[in-house]
């Protein structure tokens, strides 16, 4: 049996469904429900059986013909974008929607190669301001924004 990416992923799924199956058995149900025909454990158990069966079959039967080599892709760029999204999530509450979103957009554009200041500014501030106006002003969706509150733009 040769190792390929599909087999590795199938093995990970197999482990996932084995752990899932174990955790499904550990779900605390009410005492009167323990021996019921159907309780909170039943459906997860069925899912785990299905998952174990199909991931095991994939593990055994896969020949990895359609696998693409992983080293040809832009891992670093995606990872940096992932970190940017993550950081955006961290600062959005403390800094506020307007500033954090503009920062996220400006840094992302710049990282992906945009160098024109005109493009950088036109594709960030007006877009964010427009969306925030639509949500806040037109659709009545309140977005807490300490920065804009500090500036007195929103109450």
């Amino acid at each position: 049996m040769t190792i390929n990416y599909t087999r590795i992923s199938a093995l990970i799924f197999l482990l996932f469904f084995l752990v899932y199956s174990y955790l499904a058995g550990e779900i605390q149900v009410f005492a009167f429900d323990e021996h019921a025909d159907f309780n909170a454990r039943t459906f997860p158990k069925f899912i785990s059986y299905l998952g174990i069966a199909v991931s095991f079959l994939t593990l055994v039967l896969s020949r990895g013909e359609d696998d693409e080599p992983f080293d040809q892709f832009e891992w670093l760029k995606v990872f940096v974008l992932f970190v940017l999204v993550f950081t955006y999530g961290i600062i959005i509450k403390s800094v506020g929607f307007f500033l954090s979103t503009n920062l996220f957009l400006l840094i992302s554009y710049y990282y992906l190669g945009v160098r024109s200041y005109k493009v950088l500014l036109l594709c960030s501030f007006p877009v964010v301001a427009g969306l925030q106006f639509m949500l806040h002003g037109l659709l009545d969706v309140y977005i807490r924004d300490p920065f804009l509150q500090f500036l007195g733009v929103i109450s």
């Binding site: 990416y5 799924f13 996932f16 149900v29 039943t42 998952g51 999204v85 957009l105 639509m134």
Partner: protein, 500 residues
């Protein structure tokens, strides 16, 4: 029924909802045009905008986005041979050669007229078929619903997997497993939350859709170094040429429209099939019945070759609303996203929808017709201008898609945890997509998970824990036989592939 239709007409023709259709068609065309971003991403990106809307208007907007995206996909297929949507791949077979021969405008006009005709005929079928099916489905019991949902899951795994049925089934099981996170609907017991308060309510459907489609698609564009931008001159008005069709060309189109709209609608109604399969089938069907002389034209700019998939994919889009509206079971990945959106509005589609909320049921159906008119009257003349969106470079587009995805999820809960979780899910789905694991079965499994559990629970409790309901009720039995046939077909195909 007449009263319901009148309510629907009233709702759909209100000024507000007509603007919704126009906005939906316009936004859908733009997003559908961008290679990689299909109707599912387009609808997912629209969900946050619809929060403040009433359910009917939101669904009208999303339906507009759906067929707008299909129309936009055809445009990029024809102009630059880069289908934005899988359902329009076969449109490029004859559309792109026509564009290369200097007939891009004509090809776009054929696509628009064919889409309009296919969508309109299918909307009429829907008008007749949906209430009938809704009446039939009133006789469905829990066991039948359970069986029907299993057929839906199996068939979407079979059709969406491109020969990777086992991988699609893993994704189905994964989606079902994710659906069990959070509170059990009957006993209120929380499951798989690992002490994290953010998981006690379960995983948000919008989060999952945004992460697996919109965000992972944006990552994919960077990850695969995809060159998605084109020169503005490639889609200029001068290069498109005339959009007028001659009488002979219209004559050639008419019988094809008639045949393939029926075919497309029927394929769309089937759970798991949809626009992609319908368009390929229609192209293949028209080619097989064409004369030897006409057959040679297919793939080189045949009018019939372009009309067939364009009619069928729009008819299938409309057809896929039949199981969604009448049974509450989505027939495709896109309608699965719409089902999730409906559920988040507190609307439960199914046989009762057309009795209890006729304004939603009928206004969606009638808005489809308005949408087809909008696409023909507004979008076709504007195509040279809309197509300039293709000139947006990826380094601008990707951050914007990421921003809209994050905003969409943040606006539901105002919870930073959802953003972290979304980024992680997007990264995982990116890796899974590279390994050819299809995403639609995951979404369908996730959306149907709760309903399957509820119906299985009822069926088992009624039958004292026995699975005999599978063969005791004729509807269930038929559906389980269909399931067995689907599985056997997949095994047969797998064996055949191995032999080859």
């Amino acid at each position: 029924m007449i009263e319901g239709i009148m309510i629907g007409v009233n709702t759909a023709f209100s000024g507000y909802n007509i603007i919704m259709v126009m906005m939906g068609c316009f936004a859908g065309t733009i997003i559908g045009m961008l290679p990689g971003l299909g109707p599912m991403s387009a609808i997912a990106l629209m969900i946050p905008i619809t929060y403040g809307f009433d359910p009917a208007s939101a669904m009208i907007l999303m339906a507009g986005v759906y067929y707008g995206a299909i129309f936009g996909g055809s445009t990029s297929s024809i102009l630059i041979n880069a289908p934005g949507v899988a359902g329009t791949v076969s449109s490029s077979f004859d559309g792109y050669p026509m564009a290369k021969n200097g007939q891009a405008g004509k090809a776009l006009a054929i696509a628009a007229y064919a889409s309009f005709s296919g969508g309109t005929i299918a909307a009429l079928f829907l008008l007749v078929a949906a209430p009938q099916l809704a009446k039939v489905s009133l006789s469905f019991q829990s066991a039948d619903y359970f069986a029907l949902m299993c057929v839906g899951l199996l068939s979407i795994a079979a059709f969406a997997s491109k020969g990777q049925f086992l991988k699609a089934m893993i994704m189905t099981a994964f989606g079902l497993a994710l659906a069990t996170v959070g509170q059990d609907s009957l006993s209120d017991i929380t499951r798989f939350h690992f002490g994290n308060i953010n998981l006690m309510d379960g995983i948000s459907f919008v989060l999952l859709v945004m992460a697996t489609f919109a965000m992972s698609e944006a990552f994919m564009i960077i990850f695969k170094k995809m060159d998605i931008s084109f020169k503005a001159s490639d889609v200029s008005k001068e290069k498109l040429g005339s959009i007028k069709l001659s009488k002979d060309e219209v004559k050639e189109m008419v019988p094809v429209v008639g045949r393939t709209s029926v075919l497309g609608f029927l394929v769309g109604v089937l759970p798991g099939a949809g626009a992609t399969i319908a368009s390929f089938l229609a192209w293949g069907f028209e080619r097989s019945i064409a004369s030897a002389k006409e057959k040679l034209k297919f793939g080189k700019g045949s009018i019939k070759g372009l009309t067939a998939p364009e009619t069928a994919n729009n008819a299938a889009c409309t057809g896929s609303f039949v199981p969604l509206l009448t049974l509450g079971i989505p027939g495709s990945g896109t309608t699965a996203v719409m089902l999730g959106a409906l559920l988040s509005f507190g609307v439960q589609p199914g046989p009762r929808l057309y009795v209890e909320q006729p304004e939603i049921f009928w206004s969606i159906i009638i808005s489809m017709y308005i949408g087809n008119v909008v696409l023909l009257v507004l979008n076709l003349p504007l195509i040279p201008y809309i197509a300039r969106i293709l000139a947006i470079p990826k380094n601008i587009l990707v951050p914007l898609v990421l921003f809209f995805s994050v905003t969409g999820v943040y606006l539901i809960s105002f919870n930073s945890f959802d953003i972290y979780f979304m980024a992680i899910v997007a990264l995982i789905s990116l890796v899974l997509r590279i390994l050819n694991y299809p995403m639609p079965p995951l979404i369908l499994g996730f959306i149907l998970g709760g309903m399957i559990e509820k119906n299985l629970r009822r069926a088992l409790l009624i039958n004292d824990g026995s699975f005999s309901f599978m063969w005791e009720r004729p509807i269930s039995l038929t559906l389980f036989i269909i399931m067995i046939i689907i599985v056997l077909l997949q095994i047969y195909q797998g064996l055949q592939k191995k032999q080859n």
